[in-house]
């Protein structure tokens, strides 16, 4: 009853093309944003369970937001442009390490030229964004093979980027400022003189990033560029015939996607971990991001969030249930059970809805629209 478009007339083209053409959708998004931006901090401030403890913010919401952001990036490449990538972890690492270098000052001695390139430490915000840009340029470079290699072959080829950058950040000690162990510490999170330290501040920081990038991404995929990507995804030869340049479309997808992933990587390192090593961006991370996108639904920004929640939070929940209920199981058994149940749920979900949560959501909307009189 509540979800009806009837009576909502669109009188201008602008209204027709609005991001959320249906009023109820707009309200839902507004409420969601309200809860995220105002509700959660308020609840945390008044110590209302479960927001009072740091746990929810620091161990659940923070990684959830950052990985959702990365999943949006992956979704642009895999979901919208159809280029399967298993190198997302590497692009996160590039974002993280270049932001780290830029945030702590870059010094490249060029002895044979007789001078050195020195950049003083940049403000954190700038470092993070430039980290994203570095990741974008690496993305373009590793996107070039996609013009020739397709499908699963491309997926494995992107692993070259994954393993290569894992190695680079382990071996080239310049990137880690010659730290003896190769593990580096994020600079202080100083945004325009505001020190972001407490969990709630970190949460809000990530939330702002995620919101801004989600809106940007949503608009990008609705526009000319996004349509080009989708045309390439659906059939690249046909797209080429109707005048879409595959080179431009594929490389922009790689660039935009790597940029977002790079920013997410910088946030993951600076805001969530605080201190990290290349293993934080290993192949497991790449796979995790790809799972999020597939489970959430290819080609859906909303799906990236749901997928991230499913892949990240469900195992934690499964892991905690037995001990919270007081079932006497060893952590070993719990973890094995967690694996089995998690795997079963993935299979079950895919059999029920092969296109992931995004399709479930849109089906739900359709049903809601007709409720209670379906035809």
């Amino acid at each position: 009853m509540l979800y009806r478009e009837a009576g909502q007339f669109k009188t201008t083209y602008a209204e027709d093309m609005a991001i959320f053409p249906i009023r109820q959708d707009r309200m839902a998004i507004a409420i969601l944003l309200g809860i995220a931006f105002i509700g959660v901090p308020l609840l945390a401030d008044f110590d209302i369970w479960p927001f009072g403890s740091d746990y929810l913010l620091r161990a659940i919401l923070l990684p959830f937001l950052i990985l959702a952001l990365a999943a949006i990036g992956v979704n642009i490449l895999v979901g919208y442009c159809g280029q399967i990538s298993l190198g997302s972890g590497a692009f996160m690492a590039i974002g993280a390490y270049s932001a780290y270098k830029l945030g702590t000052g870059v010094h490249i001695p060029l002895a044979w030229l007789g001078f050195a390139i020195s950049i003083p430490p940049l403000p954190v915000l700038l470092a993070i964004l430039l980290g994203g840009l570095t990741a974008a340029s690496a993305g373009i470079l590793f996107g070039v093979p996609s013009l020739r290699i397709k499908g699963l072959y491309l997926a494995v080829a992107t692993l070259a980027a994954q393993f290569f950058f894992d190695w680079v950040f382990l071996r080239v000690s310049w990137f880690t400022n010659y730290a003896p162990s190769g593990s580096v510490n994020a600079p202080t999170l100083d945004f325009f003189g505001l020190n972001v330290g407490t969990p709630i501040e970190r949460y809000l920081l990530c939330l702002i990033f995620v919101t801004v990038f989600a809106v940007l991404a949503k608009n990008l995929v609705r526009g000319n560029l996004g349509r080009q990507w989708m045309a390439i995804r659906d059939m690249d030869i046909a797209a080429e015939l109707i005048g879409i340049r595959p080179l431009y479309a594929k490389l922009t997808a790689f660039a935009v996607s790597s940029f977002i992933i790079g920013v997410a990587g910088a946030l993951w390192a600076f805001v969530y971990l605080g201190s990290w090593e290349p293993l934080a961006f290993s192949i497991d991370r790449s796979l995790q991001l790809l799972f999020m996108v597939i489970i959430g639904g290819l080609g859906s920004i909303m799906g990236a969030f749901v997928g991230a929640a499913f892949i990240l939070i469900l195992p934690i929940l499964l892991n905690r249930i037995p001990s919270e209920l007081g079932v006497p199981l060893s952590t070993e058994t719990i973890t094995h059970l967690e694996f089995i149940i998690f795997g079963s749920l993935i299979c079950y979900l895919l059999i029920k809805e092969p296109h992931g949560f995004a399709r479930l959501i849109s089906l739900g909307k359709e049903k809601l629209r007709l409720w209670p009189f379906p035809y």
Partner: protein
Amino acid sequence: MIGLGQFLEVLIGGLMSGVLYSLVALGFVLIFKASGVFNFAQGAMVLLAGLALVRSLDLLVAWGFPLWVAIIFGISFAAVIMVITAWLIERLVIGPLVNQDGLTLFMSTIGVTFILEGAAQMIFGSDAYPLRLFPTDVWLLFEDLFPGGILVNKLDVWGGFIAGILVAGLAIFFERTKTGRALRAVADDHLAAQSVGIPISWIWFVVWLAAGLVALVAATVWGTKLGVQFSITFLALKALPVLIIGGLTSVPGAIVGGLIVGAGEKIAEVFLGSYIGGGIEYWFAYVLALAVLLVRPQGLFGERIIERI
């Protein structure tokens, strides 16, 4: 600086370990060829087969059976486990997902990976279990020709021998048997195959079973090399570049890919690695794969991808 003896030794060692990767890659090829599913669970299947084998073997030996009886029964037991696994996967996961997109099927095999890893370790234990089926000592060849000789590991030779038999067997199976021909028909076009009366779910069960048995063979060799333990699942990542170089759909391709990757990465690591800090073989294999793909996008022996609008 680099002696010929050393070069030959590294080359031979590389070729041999490449064949061992091929053992894992073969499982991928079988399933992809017949059903278009990129089976991420192959590593987990090796773990499951290995654990089933080594645990039953240990138990039988502890009960006082002679070793050869234990080995025969252990292998049969593991084979039965693989039959059940293949049947369950086809019934519960792959069957219901007929005609779905490749990425969805890939994701579902990841679900299977989680289930297999959890279940295998829950049932059979998560410790490291030593397995000694093959000799692991070495031969030193041409000792009079090169100082120190050329070192060849017997296990590697066994691995190469087994891989050879396996490929020959699979080739005969594909080319000569009725099921094999049906399998190729399904691989070409499963709707057409179904319409001429080929029981598609039976065929898929057969490929998953074949992949399971290949996993068991891989587990005997790799289990002897490493001991049967969780880390064995990481082999899947070493098998991917092999698979891609050879082509996703070619059985001999898996062997040739293995030889190229093994020789390439070992030579790079030993002779190039020391100059740039070492540890390069992981990414070198993938860069090699990338280079091959740029020349032949479907791998060396893969079926040419023909796209129509």
